[in-house]
Symmetry: C2
Subunit: 358 residues, 2 copies
């Protein structure tokens, strides 16, 4: 017994295509891997993501995993070539793909868009993992003409990969990801770009704040140019609001003798406080409710394990954890995030066991 | 034998003052804690940060740990009241403090500015820790008229707290922290502020990218309004460049039919790639040289300890570690960062021990 009534055909053997193939193959599903690049098909198949296509293949489901700019064209081709298959894609923009499919007169009843939100900093088949999607949101974007059984099949796919299905319209999806993903990418890139002309000695004073705000600036430029281009309207709506807010702060900082302008700066930081509190934390709980306890450990193998074993012995569950190395000393700083009600117990117990709390 | 020739007087009993007092007291140094708030002095002393001031105190060193906007005034008072003491402060801006001291005709030979870069999200005496400064940079900003023995005493203080001393001019300091700390704060706050008018359902799609870019947006508004105001020239210089770059991206995204504009977006993301590579990583090593391995763990006490114990058994040292919880499932995703040369060994060995690599 396999998951789907026929083979699942994956078009595009990068990170996402390979990972989907690996996960489905593991579950006994017959998976076909196809790509314009025969080399990446070979690689994905060698990894166990599926098999090569045969002439008489009659896939039940097709998952298009190509770059955003090519997605609609390939989806339309697949719908035409396999008239009995349901088709989805994994592009991180949905409205422009749908619009292009409409303009191509594609038979949209059998198509439902997807966006598995399993970001990784590195792509390619070599980075593929069967467990890539576990516990991650998988957005499904049904449209006016999509067949309910198409929606059901795509849901089945997401659930087989242990994702959490989120169902929204493609327009709502694009508005949401512009805000929570695409705009942060632009802002982080532009912030990191300001480091380019700076002296190394200036950059060397970087702390965790700069590291956090610029981490995603390391993302792939080609991919992101496509994503931003395909969602430019929604992205620019937010960027223009951001730019207006920034202009107000710049103008205020230029004229601080006016006490009203100090209020402008203060209000901007406070709005940020309010905004960050809206981000859901662990498993959807409130983000801001954790207490931070910073513990120092020697920077050698086993120390972190020893700390966490003792935290377990104390009987406290960690909500979040971050490891940070001191820029100079051979010391690691471990940020433990716990419920406020257990913070004092944790500090007291760790100190009595000889740990240094920073 | 104590560290300094006489008592160390700490003015201001917040996070930094209390932490300095705790660290010095632990080393047998006589520490005086003073503050306009008698309540916070009581609290800091109860915590072991020092003793109350006496009329005949003759401090050898005074550390002013008050909010930035009050710093110069208090430093000048202390220089006058204790004509034999060296004085430093811990404000995160240095040039405006020095300028105000000059305008107050303070005897600057005995003053050298400090900026211990030990950021914590929470302040107050209650958050004070003796180990707060260990392994962190402590910037010292000598000026034209500062006495070499003043500089030596402040260095001794930073070293006693196990910080790494960085010596630069106040102007160079302010330019550097504008870039690596103050501007990221403004940008992060403005980015988080964009979440305020958004629907909760949109914000609920937030991933690690948004969490990282907006973490510091939770910072204290009153403190940051003072910091930004005191370094407004340097901050605005960078913000205006950022704003110009942003305007170019917005304009390009508005007119993507022109292929040159796709290049503008692409170039912006690539500049970000280049910028983020300039940030030094662990102990000053290159930031971009680590490989990321994502391991899934059950979200229950002891699982992370078990993973890290096994990583230790495999004999691999972690360069960085991040714990991320899936927004919906009872699963934790652990990001392990290791040297690329050991990545494959780590993956293979963890998989053979039954761990799921995402």
């Amino acid at each position: 017994m396999t998951l789907f009534a026929g083979p699942v055909r994956i078009v595009g053997a990068g990170l996402l295509g390979t990972s989907i193939g690996l996960a489905l193959t593991k579950q006994g599903q017959d998976v076909i891997v196809s790509s314009q690049s025969s080399k990446s098909v070979e690689l994905a198949i060698e990894y166990g993501a599926g098999r090569v296509a045969k002439n008489d293949d009659a896939p039940a489901l097709i998952v298009v995993c190509v770059p955003p700019a090519l997605t609609a064209k390939i989806v339309a081709q697949e719908l035409q070539q396999f008239p009995n298959a349901f088709v989805t894609d994994v592009a991180s923009v949905k409205e422009s793909v749908l619009e292009e499919l409409v303009s191509l007169n594609a038979p949209l009843e059998r198509y439902v868009g997807s966006h598995p939100m399993a970001g990784r900093e590195r792509g390619g088949a070599i980075a593929g993992r069967a467990d890539l999607f576990v516990g991650r949101p998988w957005v499904i974007t049904p449209h006016e003409t999509s067949n309910p059984s198409a929606v059901a099949q795509i849901k089945k796919l997401a659930e087989a990969l242990e994702s959490s299905v989120v169902e929204v319209s493609s327009k709502d999806h694009d508005r949401a990801v512009a805000l929570v993903s695409h705009v942060p990418q632009v802002i982080s890139s532009l912030l990191a770009a300001r480091l380019v002309p700076a002296a190394d000695s200036d950059v060397s004073l970087a702390g965790q704040g700069l590291r956090d705000t610029t981490r995603i600036a390391a993302s792939d430029a080609e991919l992101w140019t496509q994503i931003l281009g395909a969602n430019s309207t929604q992205v620019n709506r937010v960027l223009k609001d951001f730019s207006g807010d920034l202009a107000k702060v710049i103008s205020a900082l230029d004229n601080l003798s006016d006490p009203l302008n100090q209020q402008v700066v203060d209000a901007a930081i406070r709005q940020g406080n309010t905004g960050v509190e809206k981000i859901p934390g662990k498993h959807g709980s409130k983000h801001s409710t954790y207490s931070q306890v910073v513990v120092m450990i020697d920077d050698k193998p086993g120390e972190l394990a020893r700390l966490l074993t003792e935290v377990g012995e104390i009987g406290i569950n960690l909500e979040e954890l971050k490891l940070e190395h001191s820029p100079s000393a051979q010391i690691g700083l471990v940020e433990l995030y716990v419920l406020p009600s257990v913070e004092q117990t944790l500090i007291t117990d760790l100190q009595s066991r000889g740990w240094r709390i920073a």
